[in-house]
Symmetry: C2
Subunit: 317 residues, 2 copies
């Protein structure tokens, strides 16, 4: 299907460009005082990430708005989500946590700038993400709804059991991952960690995009729009992480741009460690099929998001 592949590549390229342009404007320049932290923030933000979360956010916003172009502010919201992703990577890579020297083929933040600056650069990226959300060109009620969804998604899970809230938060997932080290992984634990550690931010990227798009839509979107987006995000996000686990076990460090096999070496909770590689691949495919199901009511307008989800499970790095 060359057409669909080309279409996905186009989405990925234009989404990444829009995100990078927004990040370039939002992040202080390398000559802005104090230098060290702004250079550290840029080092990790512009280290070659695929911008998947922003691209999912932009496409969800476009789909819900029902406009040819994504609504104003979608790329900035995407940039805020990428800042949150980057902050979590910087802190996760620290010596006290995963102690990783290499990320996307580059030295990690603490290797390049020292531990103190890396800790503060992560902190500052979280803060700048929230500042960026506060400046979104959207009705205040929409901004508050986005703020609420995002803060729940990246926290420890507080409020995650409330109506309208997302699954356990990103930091909660990091803690569960930390605490699981050395113990034999169980199916339940692996799923909980994946849903929290990476799933929550991916899901909220789609939900937040949908909230922004709903404010711009000519016709108010149907009441279950956000619920459908959340289901799509949860399924696709889990599939994404399963594929990540599989790639970690089947590829070498050069292909991955990070230390391969690290998950196995440290007895980390991964999907293939519980289910094996073949079953993991099958699970990822089934999850994508379930994700597609959640978007049926959107018809043709859902094609970009569905193509992106398909790409997530078919990627090889």
């Amino acid at each position: 299907m060359p057409d669909r592949t080309d279409a996905v590549k186009h989405l990925l390229t234009t989404g990444a460009i829009a995100t990078d342009e927004a990040l370039e404007r939002l992040l202080p320049g390398p000559e802005t005082q104090p230098h060290s932290i702004h250079r550290a923030m840029r080092h990790s933000t512009f280290a070659g990430g695929k911008r998947l979360r922003p691209i999912l956010c932009i496409e969800a916003a476009r789909m819900v708005a029902g406009t040819p172009e994504p609504p104003d502010g979608a790329a900035r919201l995407g940039a805020a989500l990428e800042m949150l992703h980057t902050y979590s990577l910087i802190h996760d890579d620290l010596p006290a946590l995963d102690n990783d020297d290499l990320r996307r083929g580059q030295p990690t933040c603490h290797v390049a700038f020292g531990e103190a600056t890396a800790i503060l650069a992560g902190d500052a990226l979280q803060t700048l993400a929230f500042q960026t959300i506060s400046d979104l060109p959207a009705p205040p009620a929409t901004v508050v709804a986005i703020l609420r969804a995002v803060s729940i998604a990246i926290g420890t899970g507080v409020g995650a059991d409330l109506p309208g809230a997302l699954a356990p938060g990103m930091i909660g997932g990091q803690v569960m991952d930390l605490e699981s080290g050395g113990k034999p992984p169980t199916a339940d634990l692996v799923e909980r960690i994946h849903r929290a550690k990476t799933g929550a931010l991916i899901t909220v990227s789609i939900v937040a995009g949908g909230l922004l798009g709903a404010a711009e839509a000519e016709h108010p979107p149907s009441a279950d729009t956000i619920v459908r987006l959340r289901t799509f995000g949860e399924k696709a996000g889990l599939a994404f992480q399963i594929v990540d686990d599989v790639l970690d076990m089947t590829q070498d460090s050069t292909q991955l741009g990070k230390t391969a096999g690290k998950d196995t070496a440290t007895d980390k909770a991964t999907w293939p460690a519980v289910y094996g590689i073949e079953q993991s691949k099958a699970d990822a495919s089934q999850l994508i099929a379930d994700a597609f199901e959640a978007l049926t009511t959107f018809g043709e307008a859902a094609t970009p998001l569905k193509s992106l989800a398909q790409y997530l499970v078919e990627r090889t790095h």
Copy 2:
């Protein structure tokens, strides 16, 4: 003046109780999964802080609202500001930064819970503060204005030159402090660090309280209300930090509840290091007089805030 002293003690006590009640409700319990991070967040949050920022926030909100009781949500907003203060202390105490073992007479977070959990507990407190702001019982436009002011105040200084923005941010101050270590402190640098590292959060506590109070006021407050609150906060915040520096040089560790003389020992940028102790005390008094001046238009309603500021420079620990 026994009356005024009693009145301040009453403000401090009732404000601290209201803040602690809000924090108790907002922070997940020690039995909430994952345990380690929630216990670490509570350890540092309930370590005997004076709750100055929340109390300033609550009193600013009450003054601007012009009501006998503080507006609904003032204590929760105060609690969010205390979470931000606590997060900054947890990260500042880490081995890679100030490497402090003792804070308010208790083991610091990383000593009690390990470095990884301390890093994530700080992260989660920042996130929970923003989630708390998103849930404030105030008009969405007020919530967005508070979010914007707070995120600028605790960042690296991005947006601090925009109209309505506050002075350089808290993380910017931490970085400047870090970079200044070992160099002889200059007057300009010390003032910039103090205004950013501690002044910005104190100032925004008063400004955010004022924004919340303005939304509740029967009569719309005058246009320069927020500017006046900011001036008051900047002056009182700088005075507060100068007194902190002086106390660090003149008291022992038991009185302070932290390692005394540490600032001098590590050649940190402090006010007395540049101006000497007597001039520092005089400067603090002058700043408080300037802070009072900014509140003259509020008349009698400003008495609580002014008494609190006076207390800040007269305290002995």
